[in-house]
């Protein structure tokens, strides 16, 4: 067992251990433990990342039992990327929660969050369908509990979230059962192989994919099924919303990507001779188009709804709904046999599969960029709410004077969310758009344009009023500020310090823009083509 392999399980189990231990500790010590665990996770994640970046897929058969009997953990490029996301965002948000305990809502935050983190990592490294389900359950339950930490008002949203999470998991579980029945194994790799070899099992597999997609999409809050997300994410404590938006829904996204690209015999659909039956292929295409359509709907209507919000956190939550849409736009591309329309043309230097891989890495880059940026934005919004006692945009006018760093970080995060250079959001949009152009899917371009403009609109609407100068004269303001400082329990120093994590995320939003090439290379490790 190499370090990477050790890390693969350690990244799941050690946070879990920490979570359990944290239950026994006092609230201060919990924060320290949380930070230590975060650092540990970063270390373990680095080990996995190094291995993956070297081009190797990390695999670990737990207990020494090989699949199909045992459970295999598996980390390829996709896993490594999401692991890194969770490590980075998790660490920064943990730091925030440690600096400003009020933002965590309750000391119970720490065991729950560490458990959630462990669940996230479990999903990202899982090579087994049922294990994925268990991981999703772990994430879902802890996420619900974390939402509920926001106080009485967030219990109802939490309950709704619980229902959604359970329902989604159930649908997923049924799908897992179907695949188990069809392929006879729970291991993803083996199942994929099995499915590719047995065309008669395809019907079941496709149906399983349908069910699982719907279940996961429910957890992911794709447009018509998104309503639970708004109160849940908006009502959660300041340190929780970023985690939910940046990481928790990414778990479902990760699984969807795994299913569509790694488990399903989609290679067969593009090559007609060994492929799915005609009908199934149509069904799958229809499903992809449905999800892509939902995605487009989400991008546009979610943004429109975000434009109508008067409070910061719901605005950011709707922005999440809108951003979720981007991640589904590539699905129709995936199944379009004409996807490489431009590949064969003279004058272009497109490589084989460049369109699909471009679309995939575009979507992943969008998701990663969203993770970092949204975490920063939510963190800042939560902090503002914490400091000002409200997140109504109207009453936050002029907040920029007192918290310039915070507004700056919000601005940086907005850059990432709008998809302006330099940020991963830009990279993602670039990839997606280039793939769309190459495949001549112009509607994706239209959606991207509209989404970009609308997102700029709502983010500007949310952030710009904070830049307003108060009408009051400066002396009054200072007086007020002093009063505010007295009123809030935390010391001003601590408040200043609490702005740093958000700023770090803002910076990361911009700096990660330079990593596009690296991300693309990582995506190539263990890619389905």
């Amino acid at each position: 067992m190499t370090t990477a392999e050790f890390s693969l399980a350690g990244i799941v189990l050690l946070p879990l251990l920490a979570s359990a231990v944290a239950v026994l500790l006092g609230s201060r010590v919990r924060a320290v433990l949380g930070i230590l665990t975060a650092l540990l996770i970063c270390g373990l994640c680095t080990a996995v990342l190094i291995q993956t970046a070297a081009g190797g897929i990390t695999e670990l058969a737990l207990g020494g039992y090989e699949a199909p009997l045992g459970i295999r953990l598996r980390a390829d490029g996709l896993s490594a990327l999401f692991l890194c996301l969770s490590a980075v965002v998790g660490t920064v948000v943990s730091a925030h929660a440690a600096i400003l305990p009020a933002s965590a809502g309750h000391p119970g935050f720490w065991p729950l969050w560490l458990g959630c983190w462990s669940g996230l990592n479990a999903v990202f490294v899982s090579g087994d369908l049922f294990n994925t389900y268990v991981g999703l359950e772990l994430v879902g339950l802890t996420a619900v509990a974390l939402v509920a930490l926001g106080g009485r008002d967030s219990w109802m949203p939490a309950l709704r979230y619980l229902f959604v999470a359970v329902l989604g998991s159930l649908l997923f579980l049924v799908g897992v059962g179907l695949i188990l029945a069809a392929a006879g194994t729970l291991d993803m790799e083996q199942a994929a192989q099995q499915l590719a070899e047995t065309p008669e099992a395809h019907a079941a597999a496709v149906f399983a994919l349908c069910l699982m997609s719907v279940g996961l999409v429910l957890k992911l809050a794709l447009m018509p099924m998104h309503r639970w997300l708004i109160p849940a994410h908006a009502g959660a404590p300041g340190a929780v919303s970023p985690l939910l938006s940046a990481l928790v829904i990414k778990a479902a996204l990760f699984v969807i990507l795994r299913l569509w690209l790694w488990v399903m015999p989609l290679d067969a659909t593009t090559e007609a001779e060994t492929g799915l039956a005609e009908g199934l292929s149509t069904a799958l295409t229809a499903l992809a188009w449905t999800l892509g359509g939902f995605g487009a709907l989400a991008v546009i209507l979610g943004s429109v709804m975000a434009l109508r919000q008067d409070r910061l956190k719901p605005l950011v939550a709707y922005s999440t709904v809108a951003q979720v849409g981007y991640w589904f736009l590539f699905l129709p591309l995936l199944l379009d046999p004409e996807a490489g329309a431009l590949e064969g043309q003279p004058g272009t230097t497109l490589a084989e599969d460049a369109v699909l891989s471009g679309a995939l890495s575009g979507s992943v880059a969008l998701a990663l960029g969203h993770g970092v940026a949204k975490a920063g934005l939510f963190l800042a919004a939560g902090l503002l709410k914490e400091l000002w006692g409200t997140d109504e945009i109207e009453s936050l006018r002029g907040a920029g004077r007192r918290h310039p760093l915070l507004i700056l970080s919000m601005g940086l995060c907005a850059v990432g969310l709008i998809g302006l250079p330099i940020s991963l959001g830009f990279t993602g949009k670039w990839h997606l758009a280039t793939s769309a152009v190459a495949a001549e899917h112009w509607w994706i371009i239209a959606v991207l344009v509209l989404g970009t403009l609308l997102s700029a609109g709502y983010l500007l609407r949310g952030i710009a009023p904070l830049l307003l100068q108060d009408a009051k004269d400066p002396q009054d303001q200072e007086h007020d500020a002093a009063q505010d400082a007295d009123a809030s329990a935390e010391s001003p120093r601590r408040q200043r310090l609490a702005e740093v994590p958000a700023f770090v995320l803002g910076l990361l939003t911009v700096l990660t823009g330079f990593l596009a090439v690296g991300i693309d290379a990582l995506m190539g490790v263990g890619a389905p083509w």
């Binding site: 399980a9 189990l13 979570s19 359990a20 207990g63 509990a145």
Partner: protein
Amino acid sequence: MSGLLPEDVSLAVPDIALGLALLTAAGCALIPRSRLALAAGFLSLGALTALVWLRLDSVDVGLAEAGLGGGILGALLVWLAIRSPHSPAPDSAETISTTQPTSGTRRTSRPILNPRTLLGCAAGAVLGGGLCLVWFQVLHALPAWSEPLEEQMETTGVTHEITGVLLAFRAYDTLLESAVLMLAGVAVMALGRDGGLHQLSLPQPEVPSALRWLVRLCAPVLLLAGLWLLFAGSSDSGGAFQSGAVLCSLLILLRTAHALPSRERTEPWIRPLLIGGVVVFILAGLVGPLLADPLLSEAWLSWQPQWATAAVLSVEILLTIGIAVGLFLMYLTLENPEGVQ
């Protein structure tokens, strides 16, 4: 139809009787307007269902059914019946199931045949029916692990296959599942007043002495059943989850009968008990690689045959306790959702 009936009809008589009894019990569980009667009806339904499973040669399912359906649900229903013995209000179910009903959905009276209710029922039916249909359509391939399962049972330190799967081959899943339960307990403690134990310090409604007597009678039996389920786990069907559930019902009954210690005495030990299982599980999983030679050559969660049984056993005991405590904590919180915080 002919395939469903055995050749010799007389052999089917007990089954038919059982079925009829089941239907009667179901009727008893639905029709009466007294909560106590309903609870009794449900308890008998649970018992009969367990019998049905036994008749179908599914001992493990039967035991689980007895433990969960009979134990926990029974205990819950008894508790409900005691708290408000009158006939249920139309929306009482909702009051129980939701932690905080919104004022908008709450009305003083509602027609029974609410279109929403109908819609919900229809949806449920369609969903259930659809899933069944699907299940039957695709049910043919068998799990591919039967052979390797038998081959590798040696190394697990347990003899029953399901336990082997649970604690050796898929120990990771088990671990995560128990972590789910543990974290549910943690969540309840975080959300509830006084670390979720507030209910323990509240005054209890009086219970009829007959019931108290019944509880005293049942408690040892349930404890025994729980322990049996636990220890049978290594060689027969059974295991931590079932056992934990049964033990939790024991705790509930004890609480009903005012037999539990006060909050102050409970608080110090409840947290360690809750997490003990998971912690030990992970540590045990780490022991393998740490003791291996060379270091870390073994994978996570692998135990050497020489101490596998001991490890599995201790993990299971602790998990059982943790699960029982976790479930009990949840019960405590849900007991009176209005007063948790």
